[in-house]
């Protein structure tokens, strides 16, 4: 189990125990974190699970892959730390990860 914090747009911190191998999106949806829609269910075919990786974690999480970048083009208010949360897999290396939910999806 890995600690994962998803900060909703209103500032509410959702502190979750995430299973290694699960995605940040899955954990957000299962715990009803507001603002993560995940229309495509994790197929990297939409951009409705967009999050900002916390600055402290951005480097460790790494940049998006090419196909994820294509989808991020559809997202609202994309920033350098933007990622699709369905493409971030939880692992021991990311223990304590913090991501922020944007104002809206798409």
């Amino acid at each position: 189990m890995t600690r994962l914090t998803i900060v909703a747009f209103d500032g509410t911190r959702h502190e979750l125990d995430a299973a290694n191998g699960s995605t940040v999106m899955e954990n957000a949806v299962r715990n009803s974190v507001p603002g993560i829609e995940a229309e495509c269910g994790g197929a990297c075919a939409c951009a409705t699970c967009h999050v900002y990786v916390d600055d402290a974690w951005s480097e460790k999480v790494g940049p998006p892959a090419a196909m994820e970048e294509d989808m991020l083009d559809f997202a609202f208010d994309v920033r350098p730390t933007s990622r699709l949360s369905c493409q971030i897999k939880v692992s021991d290396a990311l223990d304590g990860l913090v991501v922020h939910v944007p104002e809206r999806q798409g």
């Binding site: 999106m25 829609e37 995940a38 495509c40 269910g41 994790g42 939409c46």
Partner: protein, 140 residues
């Protein structure tokens, strides 16, 4: 379902190296009540991902075939008799529905009902150009 998927992935792992991210696609919870911005785009990629079971390489292949087919249909719509226009519109409607080009499918459906309506042909042309640009961007 899960068994079939893993079998599928094993056979295609080499060919579709970009699929790594999709392993979780069909184990994730469905978003059946949320907003669906994808359905308003020239190609509904969420619809397409379901059709291809998340196979990105296949999606690109299918979209390129669709772009060629749509272009050919458009040529048939613009210089053919009413019977041919109706047939071309029907073909276009089916092809568009399969890939999730909802706008094209809707216009083609109307055109099938009213094959003499040249304004609809113009609308179909505009929608096809939009979809072509969308596909082109994904193929870069």
């Amino acid at each position: 379902m899960r068994h079939r998927m893993s079998h599928h992935y094993k056979n295609n792992r080499e060919r579709h190296s970009t699929m790594a991210a999709l392993n979780i696609a069909f184990e994730a919870p469905d978003n059946s009540r949320g907003p669906t911005p994808s359905s308003t785009r020239p190609i509904d990629l969420v619809h397409l991902a379901k059709q291809t079971m998340g196979d990105k390489a296949l999606e690109i292949e299918v979209l390129q075939i669709f772009a060629r087919q749509a272009r050919a249909c458009l040529a048939e719509l613009t210089d053919a008799g009413l019977h041919e226009v109706r047939a071309a519109a029907h073909k276009l409607k089916g092809a568009a529905s399969a890939v999730g080009a909802h706008e094209i499918a809707t216009i083609a459906g109307r055109l099938e009902e009213a094959p003499a309506d040249s304004a609809l042909v113009a609308q179909a042309g505009a929608a096809i150009v939009k979809a072509e640009n969308f596909i082109l961007k994904l193929c870069r």
